[in-house]
Subunit: 298 residues, 2 copies
């Protein structure tokens, strides 16, 4: 490492820099929630020599994280153990983030950065500001989830090359933001700073809408008596997200209802247009719609 | 091979049996259309020593198929070359299948089997019967397509483990059906005999509906100013089919409009239900729908 410091090497931008300046002050990271995202982050950081304190409501996940040498210590209510953490990461379903943040707030003595990993950002950014954590808080959303969930699905490499949206509060300090960027860069992510409201508007369309479409497709296929094994390769792609966590996604839908509603409406309008063209026996209109969609997809 | 004949070996059901009894009488196969499906079938058969006669409206695809040693001879209008074929396979878009079959019919002197590979089956089965090809015709639909198209996307191995629906006419001979089964088994497919009407009803839901949903999603995202590179892993899965061939899919939608219309309607009903639950601030209802979809997906 000292040689690398003396003579900086050209490295590709994706390559995690373990010697990152801002990260050097981080010895201990607390991660609350050892699901796909929290568990994968814990594995990455522990693998880089960071002391990981971890908490999870599931004793089996905690035991596995300790047995695998990922979690150095277990965090338990009332979360006093958080006082030793330089960075605190909430990795719980968005519906639980407010309560967990409130429970954690009294113990964030040392923390230079408090962040989360949820799929909606307005609520948690607002909650952090209300709890007096505005300067140290940065909302994070790594675009690394899929239909898998839980510690068993967590793995090193999950964040490699993935976009990570960072949503500051109105009072986030430059140091906290820089530390959040360093943290995600260290595990392979590509961070992008975005206003929380813009994030929720975008993600309603690029993530939450696709999820609900897959769910609606699964429901319609179930209604029609079709089985998943009757899907071809393309249909399999479309139905995969239907296996996502109901707990996580009902929380996301509730948090982002005001953005999801017009996003679903826009989809409904395009689907109705396709149906009209098909029922109207207008193959040219159908073809034009297919062509425009294909052009967008590139 | 003679040893295997003398003492049949236990082989896994997926394993193509090159020594298949019914296929032994096939020396020459004509394939009209060298797209993803036709091109892949041509590669598989040529690789097994079958003489492949091929026709494609695109001279570049024809030239490539000959240069790569896949097509032994080029078939050109008026398709007189078909008289040498033991098996004839139409691998053209469904909108063109009827016309190509009519053009081919006068030249099918030797053919023991005439089949196709289209995504809808009622129309082509009816057309074959009307052309007096009922005994020798079996409609085929290998569930092996994706959003790629053309000779450039064709490859050996495409049919491995894939379902191939076989739809006989009312007068298909047992020998023709057995030969169709042998043909697809030889290239790794798992054939399943199904009535053409039942096929079109099923595929409207398991294949055509997912395609149109992906198209509608792409259109809605385009309307909202979102870019494909803003999609996460799950959203990418959902938007992938939007890149499918507009020509092919507008033809499929036209052919199967009567089945697609209620399939889209059923999806619309479930999507409206999800939207109502989200707008009604009813996370339990949203969760129940997510749970039911997940149970179906397994």
């Amino acid at each position: 490492v000292s040689a690398a410091e003396a003579e900086p090497q050209a490295s590709p931008p994706d390559h995690p820099s373990d010697g990152d300046l801002a990260l050097r002050s981080v010895g201990t990271v607390a991660i609350l929630g050892l699901g796909l995202i929290g568990g994968s982050l814990a594995r990455e950081l522990a693998g880089r020599g960071v002391a990981v304190l971890a908490g999870d409501r599931d004793p089996a996940a905690m035991a596995a994280a300790r047995a695998e040498g990922v979690a150095r210590e277990a965090l338990e209510a009332p979360l006093e153990g958080l006082c030793a953490a330089d960075v605190v990461v909430l990795a719980v379903p968005v519906a639980a983030a407010g309560a967990v943040l409130a429970a954690a707030a009294p113990h964030l003595r040392r923390a230079q950065l408090v962040t989360d990993v949820g799929s909606t950002k307005r609520g948690v950014v607002r909650a952090a500001a209300h709890l007096g954590l505005g300067e140290r808080f940065v909302g994070s959303h790594p675009l690394a989830g899929d239909h898998h969930a839980g510690w068993g699905a967590s793995r090193a490499g999950l964040f490699q090359g993935r976009t990570v949206y960072l949503c500051p509060t109105p009072s986030t300090s430059p140091a906290a933001l820089a530390l959040a960027e360093s943290l995600w860069r260290a595990v392979g992510g590509r961070s992008q700073v975005m206003d929380a409201a813009a994030h929720d508007r975008l993600l309603a369309r690029t993530s939450h809408l696709p999820q609900l479409l897959s769910t609606a497709l699964a429901l319609a296929l179930d209604d029609a008596g079709c089985r998943p094994d009757q899907l071809g390769p393309g249909g399999q792609d479309m139905a995969r997200l239907a296996a996502s966590s109901p707990e996580m996604w009902s929380g996301i839908a509730a948090e982002n209802a005001d953005e999801l509603s017009p996003a679903i409406a826009a989809l409904q309008a395009r689907l109705a247009e396709l149906r009209d063209a098909i029922e109207g026996d207008d193959p040219d209109a159908v073809r034009r719609l297919l062509e425009r969609a294909r052009e967008w997809r590139g």
